[in-house]
Amino acid sequence: MKLSCTQENLKAALSSLERVVGKQGTLPILSNILLETEKGRLRLSATNLEIGVITSIGAKINVEGRITVPAKLLINFIQNLALDQVVEINQSGTQVILQSGNYTVKINGLDGKDFPIIPEKGNGRSFSIESKVLHLGIQKTLFSVSLNESRPELTGVLMGFREGGVFLTTTDSFRLSEWQMRGRVEGDASFLENTQSPVIIPAYTLQEVVKVISQGNDLVQVVLEENQVFFEIGNTKIVSRLINGRFPEYQAIIPKQYSTTITLPKNEFQRALKIATSFSLYSSGEVVFRLNTEENHLEIHSQSQGIGEQVAKIPFDGVLSETMQIVFNPRYILEGVGALSGEQIIMSFNSPATPVRLSSTEDGEEYIYIVMPIRK
């Protein structure tokens, strides 16, 4: 292999592969990046066998070739080069010689033919969606996935179709978020509505997707095949397995109506929750929300034996039907508030033992975030 390309392009390509490179796997070649020439371009691939990423950049190819190089060394070298430099890549046996300006490195690689074959999309069903829309959708939902591997189906994001649009849902069984994506969709995504098995995409796959896609108007192609999902964004392709499992029938637990709705200023609410969190951390992680019909503020209270206690009073708009005390894990409320757009947070509830919904006028009905209180 003999080729030259710009440092800028190479660096961008490597940064989208970086996190996918296998860490301490049993197979040493997984911590390498595959470099190969293809149709006058340089193609780079990395995989940890859970997810694979392929990207290509423009390059001046003199001799075709295929070789793998340890990712760490390659990335470190390229990142430390000055901008606007041209990098020359030369292969000699299983050694790769990189040369740019005053710097030359020789890296021992491994034969390209031992590198895993990253699956390419076949003729699965597909649709395309504006990248900024997908980006927003992932941001609105990804944070509430479960980290507990004992229920794998909750460690992913459900992608479904309803009322003419694609939606994303996550839950860790303590709270749930669902975002109905509004935006340009090309192709017919309605097959998501009646697939035999639900499409549950691993959270880390979408973490990669969100890093690769821009917030622009270009389209992201989503292709679904049996147990695999492909994302194609410009010159970058991401492939991942799907999580096999039944996503919970969560529609039933979203309350149809609420007896009480109050509106709180987002800034104040966040501030109070952060203070409360620092106290609740020592005890059982509980924070009490008190709502008194006599007063027009929400009292947030937490305490820890032997540490101290905290009270915050936040004025709200709205009418209370009864005096109520609800106990929450403040982290769940805080994360939900953080994901909402706008300056005002709407909190709707029925009783201390039923799910509470957080919403905002800006996000409207497209966004559902509900939290289950702790029952006393």
Binding site: T94, P248, R375
Partner: protein, 495 residues
């Protein structure tokens, strides 16, 4: 003595017969056994983990693989290995295909989400569940299964193992006596008790027997048997879900903790650290701790000094390899347990030829029984010899220098004289290097001896050859395969 596998029609029939009754699972297990020999461990584990046979139909086998990567790799790179292995077990198999079936395909109970979605309480909560709203399954659905009360106090004991069916002999007398004494006086006599000995000599049997004894004698005592690997993975799970404290707390309530194969803690600093604290907490409360390993505490590499000194602080007992008499006694007991008649000459034959490992001894006996059942003839010495012939070839065979050189020469089609002669043409040099490598690794021959054999070459030449092959074996699939198949021809374990 030299036994050779003779595939007469009868044995062939047996093989055919076993194929027909083999389930997909057994077939795949057997095939994996063969494939494992031709691949490096890393490759084997990476690509064959969580695979299975999904269906077998008119010569085509569908292999279930966990992801798209494995599908591509097995279909494009390893297909020949797989077909070869399957064909040797069932000659009708012609073709394989892979299909992705995620490994977590366990059945999901059709529970409604109202039941499964839980109160938003942090993990420490133990308030009584209420039947309204989201959940009634609060406690059972808590994140870390390892630290739930029900789970941690599951003793993991297999009641098949008892002191009664443990065969006492001079090789294990001490260990058995120590275990028995401990079972009579928990926590005070020998604490900790450290048992070591080779694979398949009965460490686990003793440990479990002790556990079972305590459970039956004192049902109120909390007994936990766990392998150090399992301990590590439970600890890792608890770290992930931030419940390490509960994990530790649960362990600290145990009356008898049995840790099997403790050598696997080697090199795991964090686990050793947590284990050390658990160990100390139990020790101070006079709770009994029993540890097993395949070597002495001193010989476990990268075991923290403070753990080593604590292991050595109690009683250390070893189990060594059984003598011939013990092996005969074991075989007689096992035969009696199965209620199968077997003549003394056959027992003696098996005991004489399987020396190192009680598990292999049982395996050999089972094989003789199976053989006699298939053929419907009683066990006699010739039958036992025949049944074990191929097994013994593997264990008996020791290679000689000439064998290795001849096999390499045959494999590459280069005459031995050519390899000894001077000349550095690649087609000669490569086989020569492989031969040097094998002589070094298999016979442990000195570099100068090898050099002398190959026409008085310098020892550095040999050194270079050995290093080169060692290195290339790791990086190049072709070299690995070549070495593997030569070893196979020499009937050596193909690592």
């Amino acid at each position: 003595m030299h036994y050779k596998v003779s595939m007469d029609t009868k044995t062939h029939d047996i093989i055919r017969f076993t194929c027909q009754i083999m389930t997909n699972e057994e077939l795949w297990k057997a095939a994996l056994g063969q494939i494992e020999l031709s691949l490096s461990k890393a490759n084997f584990i990476t690509w064959f983990k969580n695979t299975s046979i999904l269906s077998r139909d008119s010569g085509r086998v569908v292999v279930g693989v966990p992801n798209g990567f494995a599908k591509e790799w097995l279909e494009n790179k390893y297909n020949l290995y797989i077909i070869k292995a399957l064909k040797s077990l069932d000659p009708e198999i012609q073709d394989i295909k892979c299909s992705i079936t995620p490994n977590n395909s366990r059945k999901f109970p059709p529970e409604s989400f109202t039941k499964s979605m839980d109160g938003a309480r942090p993990a420490t909560n133990t308030a009584p569940p209420t039947p309204s709203g989201f959940s009634r399954k609060r406690i059972t659905e808590k994140p870390v299964s390892a630290t739930q009360n029900g789970e941690i106090f599951r003793s993991n004991l297999n009641n098949r193992y008892t002191f009664e069916n443990f065969i006492v002999a001079e090789n294990n007398e001490l260990a058995r006596a120590a275990c028995f004494a401990v079972s009579q006086n928990l926590g005070h006599l020998y604490n900790p008790l450290f048992i070591y000995g080779g694979v398949g000599l009965g460490k686990t049997h003793l440990l479990q027997a002790l556990g079972n004894e305590i459970v039956s004698k004192y049902p109120e005592k909390k007994v936990k048997y766990i392998t150090s690997e399992r301990f590590t993975s439970e600890l890792v799970d608890s770290i992930k879900s931030q419940t390490v404290d509960q994990f530790k707390a649960a362990y600290e309530h145990i009356d008898l903790l049995i840790i099997d194969d403790v050598q696997f803690l080697s090199g795991r600093e964090k686990t050793q650290n947590e284990f050390f604290h658990i160990f100390n907490a139990l020790y101070q409360l006079n709770k009994q701790i029993i540890i097993s390993s395949d070597r002495t505490p001193k010989a476990i590499p990268t075991l923290e000094e403070r753990l080593r000194s604590r292991f050595e602080g109690g009683m250390i007992a070893d189990i060594s390899r059984p003598s011939l008499e013990t092996r005969v006694a074991i075989l007689e007991t096992k035969a009696q347990e199965r209620g199968m008649p077997i003549d003394p000459a056959s027992i003696h034959f098996i005991a004489e030829h399987v020396k190192d490992n009680v598990r292999e001894l049982e395996g050999a006996l089972a094989r003789v029984f199976a053989y006699s059942e298939f053929q419907k003839i009683p066990i006699t010495l010739p039958l036992a010899q025949k049944a074990l012939s191929d097994m013994l070839v593997q264990t008996k065979k020791s290679v000689k220098l000439d064998d290795i050189v001849k096999t390499v020469s045959d494999f590459y089609g280069i005459p031995v004289e050519e390899m000894i002669k001077k000349g550095r043409k690649k087609e000669v040099a490569h086989p020569r290097q492989i031969a040097m490598y094998l002589l070094r690794t298999e016979l442990d021959a000195s570099f100068s001896t090898i050099g002398d054999f190959f026409g008085g070459r310098d020892h550095t030449t040999v050194l270079h050859a050995v290093e080169k092959v060692t290195k290339n074996r790791e990086s190049t699939l072709r070299i690995r395969e070549e070495v593997a198949s030569i070893r196979e021809k020499l009937q050596l374990p193909v690592v």
